[in-house]
């Protein structure tokens, strides 16, 4: 038992008696004071150091997926001798698994006049708000692409949607930068109370705030599978993750049913509006202001998924997107009917072969003409 414990017990038993010899007590007291002071000092210094390292040198720690992709884009932007066309696709998980430029982009170089570097910026669980956030980040990081493709996912343009892609699950405070907070607060302030406080906690106590990322770096096996970022560390040079493999018929039926339960209520009782529409408008307006050509893309959907739309829903969404494209001089690419049921895992996420096919067609029919058009405009 330590002296302090003995002293405490002794004092309780006999409050008037001196606890331990005064001189020894003085030494012990000073030792305790120094230990506590050093403890606080070392801890604070460690946190400050770690914060500095994370903010200055390890941008990947906050958001590894974005960090890796950014690095590849920047490398491409500074490529010598011929700077390639840089094409980015912002989007949801449909983009993440559906746009695989790695296999086909090399074939686009010759018709485009110079090499094309296309990047997938799709985020699982993303939506218009996430697309806007990624776009803002790219602007802040000095990335100016030659073409931006924006994935339009109709269920997320619904005013009564319960898919807040700025939710804490997809965008925990630790994953955001300081400059992201204003945007998240503006669009999702109502369901993200205490966001700034959480962010500041993570910033001042990186050991706590960034524990998921730090453990992922040091020893991911200590984490539950749901928090492992093995895939995000291993994005390919085009920003894509491992493509989806074909499911068994039973799995496909189950996944399709899950997708139906998630989306159908919004597609039948659809009311256009809400933060999704606002964010998409802001994103397109920003691209126009920056002079970056953009296009709106309806990603492929399986016949079953398409059957869940009511005619009114489809009409409203088409009208809105067409109008938005017209206002911002952005073509609308409708690829909803390009694929068949068997090309999907769950009626809206493309399988590997189909994703390659889709990307190739998108490149040939839309990306290359848009790039050529730009080349001619510049001449």
């Amino acid at each position: 038992m330590s002296v302090a414990a003995v002293s405490a017990k002794h004092e309780e038993a006999n409050p008037k008696a001196p606890a331990v010899r005064p001189q020894r007590r003085r030494v012990r007291t000073r030792r305790s004071f120094v230990a506590l002071l050093c403890g606080v000092g070392v801890f604070a210094a460690f946190q400050v150091g770690l914060t500095a390292v994370i903010e200055i040198d390890m941008a990947d720690v906050r958001d590894p997926l974005y960090g890796r992709r950014l690095r590849f884009v920047q490398k491409s932007l500074h490529a010598e001798p011929a700077k390639p066309w840089t094409v980015l696709m912002l989007g949801t998980s449909r983009t993440l698994y559906g746009f695989l430029p790695g296999a086909t982009e090399k074939t686009w170089g010759e018709p485009a006049g110079r090499p094309v570097a296309a990047f997938n910026f799709g985020v699982s669980g993303g939506g218009p708000l996430t697309e806007l956030l990624i776009w803002r980040r790219l602007q802040q990081d000095g990335v100016r692409p030659d073409l931006v493709l924006v994935d339009v996912m109709p269920p997320l343009l619904c005013s009564q949607t319960t898919f807040p892609d700025f939710g804490a699950d997809h965008w925990p405070a630790a994953r955001l930068r300081w400059r992201d907070l204003a945007l998240v607060k503006r669009y999702a302030g109502a369901y993200r109370p205490g966001l700034r406080r959480d962010w500041l906690t993570g910033f001042t106590l990186p050991c706590y705030g960034q524990r998921c990322m730090l453990t992922n770096i040091v020893y991911p096996k200590l984490l539950p599978f749901a928090y492992r970022l093995d895939e995000e560390w291993n994005v390919d040079e085009c920003g894509g993750l491992t493509p989806l493999k074909a499911p068994t018929p039973e799995e496909r039926r189950r996944f399709t049913q899950m997708a139906r339960e998630a989306y159908e209520p919004f597609l039948t009782g659809f009311r256009l509006g809400g933060p999704g529409c606002d964010a998409l408008c802001e994103l397109m307006a920003s691209c126009r202001k920056e002079g970056v050509p953009a296009a709106l893309v309806f990603m492929p959907e399986a016949p079953s998924f398409r059957s869940w739309y009511s005619p009114e829903t489809l009409r409203d969404v088409r009208q809105f997107v067409t109008q938005l494209g017209r206002e911002n001089a952005a073509p609308v690419i409708d690829a909803r009917e390009w694929m068949t049921e068997d090309d999907f895992r769950d009626s809206n996420h493309l399988l590997k072969g189909a994703a390659n096919e889709f990307t190739d067609r998108l490149g040939r029919e839309y990306i290359l003409p848009l790039l050529r058009q730009q080349q001619e405009t510049r001449r």
Binding site: S2, A4, P15, T29, L36, C38, G39, L205, R211
Partner: protein
């Protein structure tokens, strides 16, 4: 609000700062002015928008309130400090401190539910007056009657909040099993947090006053602080009036040694909770939820993981409570003493949840006759005590079975002990190094298997877990096994170091700056291994 949260840290730092600086008049004046200014600012900040919105709109008030830092917690802390400082001006700094802690404790509890906090407040006041009545009266009959009133009131509250639905549910199930229709339904009851703990504290106070071991506390605030003191209020340790009340009366002095000791306990508790318990929950929870899906190896791993989880969780809470109390100048009794190093079940109960096992011994086992009667009477008393101990933990048949199993293990140990009495060879073998190791391992396994009933939600789930221990097929562990091995390794090393007091000797010999750096490292490790989603303490449900 729980110990390992930012809210608690802010609350505790502010309350402790006010508590220790209160004797200085200058600081007290500053505290009074600063807290009053903050209260005024918040009042203006929240009330003005409500007034400006027209006719005192509550929604405008709520919007303004939601923007306050820490969801308005600082407002309540400021109110507590203002109240404490006011009491210190009126009755002197010592009384001010007691009232400050009392207000802080009330807020700590009321932050969960206000109405239940008021209920405890009321029952505490009743016990205060009953204790005075017991002390003042001379007639044994009346004294007994007052004890009966207090014990009935306390146990009545406990039974109503904790066991009503259990008994109603059991009756309903029995009726349905026999094909009978019933017209009554379960009630919608929210049990106050920690009701089992403060009920036992109140009962031990009343009984001790009746037995003349403790004098009824004259000061209401002192008595209420004994029951409501926030470090031990929700999950113990169960404190005795004769240990705690003298501490409340004594004036406190700032002591760096004590603060360091408190910080050390707190860090140790945090480490146990976040590094051990919450990590082990990742192995145990999914398996206990769907035992049929997992293989025998995964189930064994879950059983071991749960044994470590409950130890880390409960002893971690206790360590944090002891540490917090030390930092406020109070000493709470030790509740755990490396229980998994016990060589038999009787020893286990002397090392596990010590405050509960001594309470059960003093207020249940001994009044029942203890081991004074014959062999059968002792066995009966053990069974009754342990079964009621199991029921105390929770209103479920699984807890009763858990208690019963421990009672049977204790009886088995007594029989085996008397069997070995006249056999020196057996004793020598069992007390040798390997023999002791085997006894420790056997006790650990027995206790761990009993935990299955404690953890399982239903009796069927518990039997599925036990039945699955020998299953060869099924899913593997829900987490990579390396996490379990690492944690087991850390626990074993810490126990070995602590067993021969090596830990203490190392700490005493380290230079102070190195010791401080060690504290910083442990804190950093705790934060790094904190769970991704907050997991409440297991014993909060009791």
């Amino acid at each position: 609000m729980v110990f390992c949260s930012i809210e608690f840290l802010v609350f505790f730092l502010l309350v402790a700062a006010a508590y220790w600086t209160m004797p200085s008049r200058l600081v007290r004046a500053f505290l009074s002015l600063a807290s009053a200014a903050y209260l005024g600012y918040v009042g203006w900040f929240c009330l003005w928008p409500a007034y400006a919105a027209g006719a005192w709109r509550l929604d405008a008030f709520n919007v303004a309130w939601a923007t306050l830092p820490f969801n308005g917690e600082l407002f309540f802390v400021a109110a507590i400090v203002f109240f404490g400082a006011g009491m210190a001006w009126a009755f002197g700094p010592h009384r001010g401190r007691v009232w400050l802690l009392l207000a802080a404790s009330f807020y700590f509890y009321a932050s969960v539910t206000l109405w239940l906090a008021l209920l405890i407040f009321a029952s505490t006041i009743l016990d205060y007056f009953l204790a005075h009545g017991i002390q003042a009266l001379k007639t044994p009959g009346w004294r007994k009657a007052l004890v009966a009133v207090s014990v009935t009131a306390n146990l009545g509250l406990l039974c109503y909040f904790k066991y009503t639905n259990f008994f109603l549910g059991s009756i309903l199930t029995a009726l349905h099993r026999h094909g009978a229709a019933s017209s009554f339904h379960l009630l919608s009851i929210l049990a106050p947090l920690g009701i089992s703990f403060y009920t036992f504290e109140a009962i031990n106070y009343i009984v001790d006053v009746y037995r003349g071991r403790v004098r009824a506390e004259r000061n209401l605030a002192n008595f209420m602080l004994f029951i409501l003191f926030f470090p031990h209020l929700i999950a113990g340790p169960i404190v005795r009036a004769r240990d705690f009340l003298p501490q409340v009366r004594r004036r406190k002095r700032w002591d760096w040694m004590r603060v360091e000791l408190g910080a050390r306990f707190f860090l140790m508790g945090l480490f146990k909770k976040w590094f051990i318990a919450d990590r082990m929950a990742l192995f145990a929870d999914p398996v206990f939820q769907y035992p049929s899906n997992y293989s025998g190896v995964a189930i064994w791993m879950a059983v071991i993981a749960y044994a470590l989880e409950i130890y880390g969780d409960f002893s971690g809470y206790t360590d944090m409570a002891i540490g917090t109390a030390h930092m406020l100048g109070f000493h709470l009794a030790k509740n755990f003493d490396m229980p998994y190093l016990s060589a038999n079940v009787a020893e286990f109960w002397r090392r596990w949840h010590i405050s509960l096992s001594t309470w059960l011994r003093d207020y249940l086992f001994i009044p029942l006759g203890g081991s004074r009667g014959g062999k059968w009477q002792t066995c009966r008393n053990l069974l009754i005590t342990m079964t009621l101990g199991g029921l105390w933990h929770g209103a479920n048949w699984t807890f009763i079975i858990w208690g019963l199993l421990h009672g049977l293990l204790l009886i088995g140990h007594r029989q085996f002990h008397s069997f070995c009495e006249g056999r020196p060879l057996w004793r020598r073998v069992l007390q040798s190094g390997p023999g002791t190791a085997a006894r420790i391992l056997t006790t650990f396994l027995a206790v761990s298997l009993c935990w299955v009933f404690f953890r399982a939600q239903t009796f069927e789930n518990a039997t599925r877990m036990l039945g699955g221990l020998v299953r060869s097929h099924g899913m593997g562990s829900p987490m990579p096994a390396v996490g379990l091995y690492l944690t087991v390794g850390v626990v074993v090393i810490c126990h070995l170091l602590a067993r021969r007091n090596l830990w203490q000797r190392i700490v005493e010999r380290l230079p102070a700056p190195v010791l401080g750096a060690g504290y910083a490292l442990v804190l950093a490790l705790c934060l790094l291994f904190a769970p991704m989603t907050e997991k409440p303490f297991i014993y909060f449900q009791f």
